[in-house]
């Protein structure tokens, strides 16, 4: 019982982190700017304005980061529903394979998103800013989804 509650909390925490990382435009921040993956917040005259991302961002890589981070959220949420369904329908002694599969897909996708972002964006701008909280949460969510998918693959239903 305790294991189930802990597992659900872990999963829900992973979903929340994934959602914040995807929705909040804060992968790269500086004192006057908070940017990626959907838009750029610029501080002008003490007011934050949402502007478009600069056109020198390579659209392929940007769309890959956007798509994979959204897909990670979607698969993690599907995995939660599948887990609840499997709790009630799985025969005793079987493993939660389908939830594990969806969760490992979510882990894979957020890893792809964060890796592409780390490698391709802001590589020469280390002095102009630093990685923001969305970026950090994306990597933490990768860790959490990885752990929870391993648990789903190992745990047997009592």
């Amino acid at each position: 019982m305790l294991v189930l509650i802990a597992l659900s909390i872990l999963h829900i925490a992973a979903i929340i982190l994934l959602l914040v990382a995807t929705i909040d435009n804060a992968w790269w921040v500086s004192p006057t700017m908070s940017t990626d993956v959907w838009g750029r917040w610029v501080l002008t005259n003490n007011k934050w304005n949402l502007t478009d991302l600069p056109s020198n961002y390579e659209t392929d890589y940007l769309q890959a980061v956007q798509a994979t981070s959204v897909l990670a959220c979607i698969f993690s949420i599907i995995a939660l529903f599948v887990f609840i369904a499997e709790l009630f329908t799985l025969p005793k002694g079987r493993r939660f394979t389908i939830s594990g599969v969806f969760q490992v897909l979510a882990c894979l996708f957020i890893m792809i998103a964060a890796s592409i972002y780390t490698d391709r964006f802001h590589v020469n701008e280390k002095s102009l800013g630093n990685y923001g909280h969305s970026f950090i949460l994306a990597w933490i969510a990768f860790g959490l989804t990885f752990i929870s998918s391993i648990v789903y693959f190992v745990l047997r239903k009592k």
Binding site: A67, F102, L105
Partner: protein, 216 residues
């Protein structure tokens, strides 16, 4: 008298439902159009008690001053009104079909862009009036809609679910076929040895059967 009937009818029908005369420019009150194209500015009116000599006009907001584009008086709901047009390249196409009073602007220029107000006044409802604002935006070229993100996400989710379903079906089918083969093999073994679990086995090959205790 007719006026008194209208008043009570108005009270009962209009007060609980709508606010009387309503002008609507549609669900999307703006339009982006390319320079040189022809656009339709939609407008419909609705009144819970009906109209009589409804006065309506279209006005263009020119830096604060409202210029009249066209106006007319509609006697009843199924009469095509005689509309006076005060602006060039404007044509009235509503023709009062189903309370439609839209106008068409031919070959728009950048100066045609701005806020257009569709105004109506219904004497039957104690001159209640209402207006709706439509925003016309004239652009050089239309933005190209990029769908790659939607396509990637939709195909990834669809593909994952389809793959999972196919895999489960295939696994169950293979297990089913294997189980059937096992059954066939078992049958062959049983019939060749002559020992099956019925009474017709070799004599002396079974243990003494205990009498089953009967429950009372």
């Amino acid at each position: 008298s007719v006026a008194a009937e209208d008043q009570t009818s108005y009270m009962f029908r209009c007060v609980w439902s709508a606010q009387g005369l309503e002008m609507s420019v549609g669900k999307v009150p703006f339009l982006e159009a390319v320079n040189g194209s022809t656009v339709m500015l939609p407008c419909t009116y609705a009144s819970c008690i009906g109209i009589k000599d409804l006065y309506f006009n279209w006005q263009y907001n020119d830096n604060g001053t409202m210029q009249k584009v066209c106006d007319a008086v509609i006697p009843t709901e199924d009469v095509v009104p005689d509309v006076k047009v005060f602006r060039e390249r404007v044509e009235f196409i509503g023709k009062n079909h189903k309370n439609n009073i839209s106008i068409l602007i031919w070959n728009i220029t950048f100066e045609d862009g701005g806020l257009y107000t569709c105004f109506g006044r219904n004497p039957k409802e104690k001159n209640k009036n209402h207006s709706a604002v439509f925003h016309l935006i004239v652009v050089d070229e239309l933005r190209v809609v990029d769908n790659t993100l939607t396509i990637i996400i939709a195909s990834a989710v669809g593909g994952a679910i389809a793959f999972l379903m196919a895999f489960m079906l295939l696994k169950n089918f293979t297990l089913f076929v294997l189980a059937k083969l096992e059954e066939k093999n078992k049958e062959c073994l049983v019939s060749s040895s002559g020992i099956d679990n019925t009474e017709n086995g070799l004599s002396g090959s079974k243990a003494d059967s205990k009498p089953t205790p009967k429950k009372k």
